[in-house]
Amino acid sequence: MKKLINSVEAVEEQMIQGLVKSAPKKLRKLECGNVVVRAEKKENKVALVSGGGSGHEPSHGGFVGKGMLDCAVAGAVFTSPTPDKIFEGIKAVATDAGVLCIVKNYTGDVLNFEMAIDMASDEDIKVDHVVVNDDVAVQDSLYTTGRRGVAGTVLVHKIAGAKAEEGATLEEVKAVAEKVIANVRTMGMAISPCTVPAAGKPGFELSENEMEIGIGIHGEPGTHRDKIATADEIAKTLLDKILADIDYKGREVVVLVNGMGATPLMELYIINNFVQDYLAAAGVKVYDTMVGNYMTSIEMAGFSLTLLRLDDELKKLYDAPADTPALKR
């Protein structure tokens, strides 16, 4: 394992410290743990709390700030944070307008957030949550855990964050978050694995001509392994799966071409070149495109594609100002 770190034990805390120190006027770390909040608590609005394991940088701490999150709780690498830390985060940012937790659909995240929400409710904090499940690589079914939450979460942060900033009620913010969730779909792939610092070795191994299709964001293997193909072929595979899931035809979308951490921007742009042409040919109108590292898996090389189907409300909120380390508008 070759990493630019100081010690395996210190990774999460030094990373959060480093993030906060990059914007000390805007961000603050809670004493109790790796919980990032806005330096100045915003009153009179619904507070947005997100989080999950570390290793997805800039998610989630990088999206704390005006127009997006109020708080991000970071667990150990790829391990959802514990209820007590989430509870501290909720307490720190809770307002009379209430708190909305944005949870990605993983058993661990859901269970820990649920327990934290119980703890907050017990203290009469008004708190609700939404569960993001945008990954079309895994089948949705009543009998399983359902789809995973992946890069689409960033768009939930953006849009629910804008709604909250507008002064909407908890119910309204939750409704718009649910609307994003209903309209956002993602699928990802990897050409090289990542290494959890504490594990010391990669989560899986791929030979020179192999790739994993349908990966999540925790370094796990994907739904299947395949022979590596061209960027265009791979992008087509992912897009076809997304486009088959809900009807995008004739609709306006936001495209997110997301790098998994070690993918050079050069490759993400090459992928975007295909994506734009393919969507145009499929009769899908691109309203805006984001290309970069938004929801990563440490130093995994690979990418995910996300499409968010828009309506006027979502467009307006997508365009609304945001001032966070990782997303400015």
Binding site: G53, T82, N112, T145, V196, H218
Partner: protein
């Protein structure tokens, strides 16, 4: 079984989990995200550090304390699940300085109920329940059939071990491994394995007497 014995079992489980950290992580690498051993080791290390403060507490308080500690240090899926298991077991042992065999069985039942409730899972979904449930059944059958705790627990461990083997033959429908569908076949579930380790350790401590 008195509170000292319970503390001894907990200490032994902590040791065992730390020793099996890499193995459990390796299993989770195959069908999960490679952190199960790391998560549990982190949690049980902090449980170990807390143990002295539990020295004179009743069994309910000890188990509840262990559960709370696991919940706030393990994270992931297994943190709330094992945490809830210990807390629920603690509930039914409230105020007790000693457990009868039947109470021990009831505590395990409560623990399993906690996992099912929290995880919204049943047997056969390739989770820790596939070790815990058969173990419970064999243990209960043994006790009900007149065996002593050690003998019954020996049956329980055999059943749990079979359950772990069984997880290799089924597709996960809960937890992270469920995303792999067919690819989860052939691999044993990390959580079922850690459950087996815990039961085995309890057995060994009790057998030592």
């Amino acid at each position: 079984m008195d509170n000292k014995k319970i503390l001894e079992i907990i200490a032994a489980i902590a040791k065992k989990i730390k020793a099996e950290k890499d193995f459990l992580t390796e299993l989770d690498n195959e069908i999960g995200d490679g952190d199960h051993g790391i998560n549990l080791a982190r949690g049980f290390k902090s449980v170990e550090e807390k143990l002295p403060t539990f020295a004179d507490k009743d069994i309910g308080a000890i188990l509840k304390g262990v559960g709370t500690q696991l919940v706030s240090t393990v994270g992931g899926a297994s943190g709330p699940l094992y945490g809830t298991a210990f807390m629920k077991a603690g509930n039914v042992c409230k105020g007790k300085m000693e457990l009868t065999d039947a109470e021990f069985v009831a505590a395990l039942d409560a623990a399993i109920g906690g996992v099912k409730m929290r995880g919204k899972a049943v047997e056969g979904e390739k989770t820790m329940l596939d070790a815990l449930c058969p173990a419970y059944k064999a243990l209960k059958d043994g006790i009900d059939g007149g065996k002593d705790l050690i003998a019954a627990l020996a049956d329980g461990i055999d059943a749990a071990a079979k359950g772990v083997e069984y997880t290799k033959t089924i597709i996960a429908t809960k937890g992270r491994a469920s995303y792999l569908k067919e690819r989860s076949l052939g691999h044993q579930d990390p959580g079922a394995t850690s459950s087996l380790f815990m039961l085995q350790t309890a057995f060994e401590v009790l057998q030592r007497g």
